[in-house]
Symmetry: C2
C-alpha cells in the first residue's frame, strides 16, 4: 500500500483524500492542514502542516492541494526536496517557471515530482499532445466551462477585502459549434470565453479597486471579458456549493476531428482522482530513479493504474 500524505485540506485536499481511499493500493496516511488541526474534522489522521518534515521516510508520495497563485509556487519546491510529490499547479502562463523551480529542488533531493496534474493542465495537456502527434498539421482549440473555476476563485479569494469568491467560466457557444464543425478557429482562447465573477467582499472594501484588480490579473482574467458582481452573504450562499466544471479540447485537420469532452459535477473530485492516480505514476518513476519534475506527458499511462492491472481489456 502506498502511504499518501495530503497537504492542504480545502475542497481539493478533501476530494484527493477520498480518491486515495477509493483506490485499492494506497491509503491516506496523513492530512496536513494549515488551520489548527483540532478545528479540522476528517476521517483521516490530521496534523499541522509544519509537522510534515517529521514524516520523511514514512510517506511514499505527498499530494499538494493548495492554491496555485501564491502557495504552490512556494510549497512545491520546498516539499519536492524531501518527498515525492504530485501537484495540480494550473497557471498556464507560469508552467516553465514552476517546472524549473520544482525540477531543481526534486533533483537536488533525488525526488520525483509529477506536477500540473489535473484535467487542465493534465488530461487536456495529454490530449493536446496526442492531437499534435496524430494530426500534426491541424488546428486546435480548448474550451472551458460552463463551470466554476477553482483556480480563478481561489485567486480572487486571496485579494485584500475579499471574503469569498466564485468564478464561472463560460465558452462562447458559436465558437464551440464552429470548432465542432471543424471550421477555422477565429478566436483566441481568451476571446472564446467570458468569466462571471461573484464576490463576497468585506463591508468596507473598495469594490471598484477589487473589480479592476480582478480584471487585470495576468494568467487569470487579463484579456478575457470579465464581469464582477458583488453579492450579499445571502445571495452568495447559493453559489458556494457549486463545483461543476468541464470543457472540450478539439483538434481538426482536413476532415479528421478529435474531441475530448469532460462534464464534471465536481471539479475537485475529478482533480483529486487525477492526483491519486498520479501518485502511482510518481512512485513508479521514483522506483526507476527518474528524479526531477515530470508531467503526465512524461509517464507511461499504465503507471496510472495499480501495478497488477491487466491492461489487455483496454486494447
Amino acid at each position: 500500500m502506498l502511504q499518501i500524505g495530503i497537504y492542504g485540506y480545502g475542497n481539493l485536499g478533501q476530494a484527493a483524500a477520498r480518491a486515495v481511499q477509493a483506490q485499492p493500493d494506497m491509503t491516506p496516511a496523513a492530512v496536513f492542514t494549515r488551520r489548527p488541526p483540532s478545528q479540522v474534522s476528517s476521517p483521516f489522521p490530521v496534523f499541522a502542516a509544519r509537522e510534515l518534515p517529521a514524516w520523511a521516510g514514512r510517506l511514499d508520495v505527498v499530494l499538494l492541494c493548495v492554491g496555485s497563485v501564491t502557495d504552490a509556487p512556494r510549497l512545491a519546491p520546498e516539499i519536492a526536496g524531501r518527498f515525492h510529490l504530485v501537484d495540480a499547479y494550473d497557471v498556464h502562463s507560469g508552467m516553465r517557471a514552476h517546472f524549473a523551480r520544482v525540477n531543481a529542488a526534486a533533483r537536488a533531493g533525488n525526488r520525483t515530482a509529477l506536477i500540473c496534474a489535473g484535467w487542465d493542465p493534465g488530461l487536456f495537456s495529454l490530449f493536446r499532445l496526442l492531437g499534435r502527434a496524430f494530426l500534426p498539421r491541424g488546428g486546435e482549440c480548448t474550451f472551458w466551462g460552463p463551470g466554476v473555476s477553482q483556480g480563478h476563485s481561489q485567486a480572487v479569494r486571496q485579494l485584500p477585502g475579499v471574503l469569498d469568491a466564485r468564478v464561472y467560466t463560460l465558452p462562447d457557444p458559436e465558437a464551440l459549434a464552429q470548432a465542432r464543425r471543424g471550421e477555422a478557429y477565429p478566436l483566441s482562447p481568451e476571446k472564446a470565453h467570458r468569466r462571471l465573477c461573484f464576490v463576497l467582499a468585506k463591508p468596507d472594501a473598495p469594490r471598484e479597486t477589487i473589480a479592476r484588480t480582478i480584471a487585470g490579473m495576468e494568467g487569470y482574467f487579463a484579456g478575457t471579458p470579465t464581469q464582477v458582481r458583488f453579492l450579499s452573504p445571502e445571495a452568495f450562499a447559493a453559489h458556494r456549493e457549486k463545483l461543476h466544471h468541464g470543457g472540450s479540447v478539439l483538434r481538426s485537420q482536413a476532415g479528421q476531428r478529435m474531441e475530448l469532452k469532460l462534464t464534471l459535477s465536481s471539479n475537485p473530485a475529478f482533480t483529486g482522482a487525477v492526483l491519486a492516480a498520479c501518485a502511482r505514476a510518481a512512485a513508479a518513476a521514483a522506483r526507476r530513479g527518474q528524479f526531477g519534475a515530470l508531467s503526465l506527458l512524461d509517464v507511461p499511462p499504465r503507471d496510472l493504474l495499480p501495478p497488477d492491472t491487466d491492461v489487455f481489456p483496454f486494447l
Copy 2:
C-alpha cells in the same frame, strides 16, 4: 532522420507513407509490396516484400500495414525478430496471443515492437485506461461508426469467392444518447451496433455460404446483428472509395463524464498517422533498451513527438 520501412502498400501502407513524409524527422526510405514492384506506382522507392531481410541495419523502424486476420499474426513476429516494428493489429479478441508471439520474437532479437497502434486499439485504448484511472468506479462504453471498418472489410475480402467487400459499422443512436447522458449502459458493445456488409462476389460463388461464414466470424461479426448484401460491380463501385469512420469512448461515474470522440474522413489516413508517430516512440524505447512488445499504454506520450518539441505549450 528516422529511416522508415513500410511493409504492405494498400490503403493503409500508402497513408502511412504519406504520414511519414509529412513529419519533419522521418522519411519513407523503402516501401515493400507483395505485388510485383513494377506494377506499384509510388513516389517512394518500392521493393519486393521478400527483399526486406536485406535491409537489416538500414531501417530504424518498419511499419507493418497488412491485414490483421491472417497476415499480421504471421508477419509481425517474423519481422519483429530483425527490425523495430509498429503494427496496427486490431482483432480485440486476439490481443493476448498476438502480444505473446510478437513479444517472444522481439525479445529474442533485441528489438522493440509497438503494436496494436491505431485509433482502436490505440488511441481509444489509451482513453479507456485513463477513464479507469480517473473514474475508477465508473461505467464505460465504446461506440464505433458510422463508418467503414477496414479490418472487417479486409477480413471479408479474404474469404473464398469474395472479390471485394466494404463493411459499415453503425452505432445504435439510442444507446449512444443514453451513454452521453451518463445513464446505465444496458447493451454490450456487440449489441449496441450493427454491421452492414456489401460484398462483390465471384459470379459462381456460393452466396449463402459466404453470408453465413461472415456472420459467424469470431472477433469480427459473431454476436453483432450483421446484414450481408451482394452487389453488382457497378453498385459496389460507389462504396469502394468510402473510407470514413469514427466513434466515441464514454466513461461516466456519479455525474462525472469523459468522452473521446473521433470523426474521420479517412480511417487509413488517421491510422497511418498514428503508425508514423508511434515509429518515434518505438525508436525511443529501443534506444532505452526496452525490447519486446509494447503498446501505446506503455510509452511516455512525449515520445510520440519529435524529440526537440517544446511540450510546455501543451500544459
